[in-house]
Amino acid sequence: MIEAKNVNFYYGNFHALKNISMQMEANTVTAFIGPSGCGKSTFLRILNRMNDLIDDTHLAGECLIDGQNIYDKSVQVDELRKKVGMVFQKPNPFPKSIFENVAYGLRVNSMGDKSFIAGRVEESLRGAALWEEVKDKLKKSAFELSGGQQQRLCIARALAISPSILLMDEPASALDPISTSKIEELMYALKQKYTIVIVTHNMQQAARVSDKTGFFMLGELVEYCDTKKMFLNPDKAQTQNYITGKFG
């Protein structure tokens, strides 16, 4: 379970997130929607402390995962990130072979021997619906894949270390409809084991895959409720307008 309590986030003086409080239950899919620049990625990156890398940023409030404040001094960031996997907005495979890309997380965390790694790589590639396309060229550079294949490789890479939470920042923005539906099916299957948070600009996608949806605007969480309610009968007029495309 993920819980944010009065989270405020600043890039320098810029107040990017304002007083965000929300809870995400285990084994659910939560979607974040909202206009560009409203802070969806920023909030997602708070959940695996990716924003720590950016200089001159500042966080106030609490962020708990399974009851543990992840910004507590005692938390080991690399252990946290092992548990909270992330797929980025732009595909970012390593300049390594396809196999090594997926094996990377296993190797740096010294998880398992050679045969275990080989098995897990195949499993993860199957999980990301990429296995059939790459099984004969695992030794080839990941850069030889198409953009959509690269994104699925990045998903496989995140799956390989079996995180319990998976953060996905517009994972389907570079994909064709077929790959997109594969990813959506995948999310449905993954829900059994993982807690998933996904950012998307595609309303249909949010409606299809998520259990709950949060609508962000200008750094604020305007509305957060069950997806069905959000799309059928939102409380706020702003939400209604955004979803129906009246502004954005």
């Binding site: 690399d78 996997g85 980025f88 390594k96 990941a142």
Partner: protein, 402 residues
């Protein structure tokens, strides 16, 4: 208006093409000039120009190589047997000795009788070997045999273990001591500078606080701008005595001292180029690694360094290039003994130092002069090989994506 713009664009284009062409042509001409002058060495006789070597006609010897000639006149070889002749003591004879044996009258007006007198001397001593100007060489074939001169061969140059370009009668142009001197000094310089430079580059790009970086970077760039003669001076005054005292050596001017000073000089280049390469590793790569639970350090050596590998090999090439070509500082601290180096802690001489030290005293167009150009060619070939291999390495790494 439109047309004017198009004409101007054409002109700029032409100008750029022209300057590119001129530059390429200039480079080509320089290389051709270098090799033409250098290869001229192999058309020079192996005995000093204008002189010949004569022996008594009873001597069975038919030819001598430059090293043998040098050893004979240095009294290091004293028996004909050692150079393939009879078991007799060699009697080296230099041209000026004739003036102590005969008076001016006996040599005749304008030394007209000199060849005859020389012929007498040679006839009198069956074991003599005489080094004479061709002008006065006796034509008397009954008693005097002129040894044929050969051109300096590839083997003399590339296999020669002695560099004595001013030795008479037979100068020696052996590349090996200089080549080895260069390689020793450069290789050890790189062995010192590379780990240190990469370490500092990693520190600067990954670990240093903004504050430390702000101070260190300009300081390092400043180091790159110091002229090499200043480094040489520093080396001479500080490093040479330091090396001598701390290692308890007879002299401080050693290959090791040269390597040290070169390492110091190559460091700023290696650091700046490698740091830039690592800093250019996209943030997305680092984030991808960290998001998979890799530690900062794992991210550095598994992602940042491999990603920057082509930039890092560029740093290595620039460093090696600087080390191999560096002249002044090395000239000042290595002692410049043109002997085969046997240990790091002996005096050596490098190719660039040799060129710098000797070009002034080598008469233009002579064999010595040509040999220095040939050294330049060798240097050129070495640096070219270094950059080609770096290119190959970084290309292969990139295309393999490993």
């Amino acid at each position: 208006m439109r047309r004017l713009k198009r004409i101007a664009e054409r002109m700029v284009e032409g100008l750029l093409t022209l300057s590119g062409g001129v530059t390429s042509l200039a480079i080509l001409l320089i290389i051709i000039f270098l090799f033409k002058e250098g290869l001229g060495l192999f058309n020079s006789p192996n005995v000093e120009k204008g002189y010949s070597l004569c022996v008594n006609s009873s001597n069975e010897i038919v030819r001598l190589n430059p090293l043998q000639i040098k050893n004979i006149f240095d009294y290091e070889v004293s028996n004909w047997q050692e150079v393939g002749g009879a078991d007799e003591e060699i009697m080296p004879f230099r041209f000026d000795e004739i003036f102590s044996q005969y008076s001016d009258e006996e040599l005749g007006e304008d030394y007209a009788l000199l060849p005859q007198r020389l012929s007498e001397v040679i006839a009198k001593h069956p074991n003599i070997i005489a080094f004479l100007p061709q002008k006065y060489t006796p034509k008397d074939e009954a008693s005097v045999k002129v040894l044929p001169t050969k051109n300096i061969s590839f083997a003399d140059f590339f296999g020669g273990k002695e560099w004595l370009p001013t030795a008479t009668p037979s100068p020696l142009y052996g590349l090996l001591p200089l080549l080895l001197g260069t390689l020793w000094v450069s290789i050890f310089a790189i062995l010192i500078a590379l780990p240190l430079g990469l370490g500092v580059a990693i520190y600067l790009s990954e670990l240093a606080t903004e504050h430390a970086g702000k101070f260190l970077k300009p300081a390092i760039e400043l180091l790159a701008g110091i002229p090499s003669v200043v480094y040489g001076f520093f080396g001479l005054v500080v490093l040479v005595p330091l090396v001598q005292r701390s290692l308890n050596l007879p002299v401080g001017e050693t290959a090791f001292t040269g390597s040290l000073i070169l390492a110091i000089m190559a460091l700023p280049t290696i650091i700046t180029v490698a740091e830039d390469a690592m800093r250019n590793t996209p943030r997305a790569m680092r984030e991808a690694s960290l998001a998979l639970g890799a530690t900062h350090w794992q991210t550095i050596y598994k992602v940042v360094v491999p990603y920057a590998s082509s930039g890092i090999s560029a740093a290595v090439v620039l460093g090696v290039g600087r080390a191999i070509g560096e002249t002044m500082a090395v000239l000042m601290v290595t002692g410049n003994a043109a002997a085969m180096p046997r240990s790091l802690f002996e005096s050596v001489r490098t190719i660039p130092a040799t060129i710098a030290a000797e070009l002034g005293e080598a008469p233009a167009g002579g064999a010595h002069y040509q040999s220095l150009f040939l050294l330049g060619c060798i240097l050129f070939v070495i640096t070219m090989m270094v950059s080609i291999s770096a290119e190959v390495i970084s290309k292969r790494q990139y295309s393999k994506g490993v």
